[in-house]
């Protein structure tokens, strides 16, 4: 709710008062969020705060019950994954959803294969996959014709992200991309996240890890029990404050109003 600083540029994706319930359980309460092109926004929150639900709502997997989603300032209606994809929104889910028995190129083009008549145009797909990986400075793959089953966790994450970027996406949403990775691979993925933003993408990046937040983010948005406690520039908060926002919903003069916090607890 609080936007303490005037923002450079306007958000490409904006949520206003988004509500989402599963049956009788309300998971998202009036969530506001802004995501800017060229910036990494870290979405943080405790387990069960509603982070995954929030991005699934944006992606159209769980369409919202109330509130508004604006894309480039225009209200849009997202009722299914096709709608979000058509807007240029790509989501890399926690489980990645890659087919182990296909190679890197085949996975990147899955469902959107290029064809010459009825024949798959392998040459142009391989070239485009290579170009995309080169643009993201990915140098850790032996071959784009490697089966995904032979890749490490970090490499798989890389392929999933590159797949999202291949489609000329404007907003890339990543659900805990570093959760299952070791130190070196986390480093690679964070670099990749940064390069995504540097190449003009708006990045929304869910994480549990404070180090990750302060490494790559420009902004941080904290969800507390389904409510947006803060959506602020990273320079305005420190690590302790972010942790407080996650665990208590407020810190100093930012966060949910004390009345709200005591009401939900």
């Amino acid at each position: 709710m609080t936007v303490p600083h005037a923002e450079a540029g306007s958000p490409i994706l904006e949520l206003r008062g988004v509500e989402k319930s599963f049956g009788a359980v309300q998971v998202l309460h009036g969530v506001d969020l802004k995501v800017y092109p060229g910036k990494v926004t870290a979405l943080v929150g405790d387990n069960g705060a509603g982070k995954s639900t929030l991005i699934k709502s944006i992606a159209g997997i769980h369409p919202i019950d109330g509130g508004q989603i604006l894309f480039n300032g225009e209200p849009v209606s997202i009722t299914g994954p096709r709608d979000s994809a058509a807007l240029g929104l790509e989501v890399v889910y926690q489980d990645l959803a890659l087919a182990d028995n296909l190679d890197v190129v085949q996975n990147m083009f899955l469902g959107r294969e290029r064809k010459h008549g009825i024949v798959l145009d392998e040459a142009s797909m391989e070239q485009a996959a290579r170009d995309t990986l080169a643009k993201l400075s990915v140098r850790t793959l032996k071959s784009v014709r490697q089966l995904v089953s032979s890749l490490s966790g970090g490499q798989r994450q890389t392929v999933a992200i590159a797949k999202a970027v291949l489609w000329d996406s404007k907003v890339v949403i990543l659900d805990e991309p570093t959760a299952a990775l070791g130190v070196a691979q986390t480093r690679q993925v964070l670099d990749l996240v940064r390069r995504l933003a540097d190449t003009g993408h708006a990045v929304l990046f869910i994480t549990h890890n404070m180090v990750d937040v302060f490494e790559v983010s420009d902004r941080v948005a904290a969800l507390y029990l389904g409510r947006m406690a803060a959506d602020v520039d990273i320079s305005t908060v420190d690590r302790a404050q972010v942790i407080e926002l996650i665990t208590a919903g407020r810190s100093g003069d930012i966060g949910l109003a004390p009345a709200t916090v005591s009401e939900v607890v």
Binding site: D100, N101, G111, A134, K142, Q146, G153, G154, R156
Partner: protein, 428 residues
Amino acid sequence: MASNIVPTSDLEPGGAAPSGFEGDRSDGSLGGVVRGYVDRLRGGDLGALPAVLGIVVLTLLFYALRPETFLTPLNITNLIIQAAPITLLAMGLVWILLLGDIDLSAGVVSGVCAAVSAQLLAQQGAPWWVAVLAALVTGAVIGLFTGTLVALIGIPSFVVTLALFLAFQGVTLRVIGQGGTVPIRDETIRGLTNSYIPVGAGWALAAAVIAAYAVLQLNRWRTQRSKGLDSQPLIVVVGRIVLIAVVVLVLTSILNADRALSKAVDLKGIPYAIPVVVVLLLVLTFLLGRTTFGRHVYAVGGNSEAARRAGISVTRIRVLVFMLSSSMAAVSGLVAAARLSSVTPGSGGGNTLLYAVGAAVIGGTSLFGGRGRIRDAVLGGLVIAIIDNGLGLLQVSAYLNYIITGGVLLLAASVDALARRRAAAGKS
């Protein structure tokens, strides 16, 4: 997925190619290809190796046991005709197995389709092409039914096809009549296995197949090279072409040799069922490897959730695959009917299905979905036919025949399961 923390290979981002992604191609040297192959074997992807080994070892074994009969042109021709219906049924089952499904009714479906066309020929005096078309349509409709139950209603394919395994035997019985046998008198259909391509035409066909294969392979290699894509070394491509050429020429010369037992008659030439198998091998290989449909079948078998999120209609793919597979069962049923010159209520029953599943799995298609090729059906079909034929020559008792064939399928399934474990272990 949480266990995929193996940083060894990528601790150092691209140590070998610091300047960009351009260097990141698979090792294209001959040594690199050999190393890649050994790696794949060790990773559990055995490819055609077990089937090729099986063909070689079994051939040597039966040759040693029956030197005067096993490797004669007559017996080799019989063996290949024996393999044809097994292979054709397996070519359809490969698709089902790729999805991670099973069709236990495929054998009896081939029986139903053959019964329908036999009755059309016998009762209605229909021309051969009407009978063939009717068999194919019957197969496709059955596949639509099975696929709908599996994909749309969501009943496990194992249960649906187990029920249909029984039900379709009833259908064949109804179509043929109790205790009946419908003879196939139509010359065209009988000719699938009982007439032979003239020797000259046979050689021309063999040459054409080799030439077409060589042109396709070399063209593909040239395109890949010129566009700087991943490609194999030329020597490997040429080696493959030479191998195919040798196999085709040796087989053609055996089938074109006079195999008559008496000097008075002349019996030689390629049975027409062989070009049918070859054409279907090419068409289905193209469909599986070079079209979106084939790609999506692999994706559904590898990770159906990934396929769904990629916008692929998993239901549509599964229904289509069941239709395709049952249509192949129809073709198999026709060739089997031609071979026996009749259809009985027992057609497609017995060990028909076991042989076909065994063929696919021995050929290298996984029972767990996602891995397999059409050629597996050909290689595995040959292995099964060699066993069946060889045991016949040895005149082993029926009980032993069952036990041995069942054992071979179990062996193939174990290799598949171990390969899969190995692949999973390689990842963590």
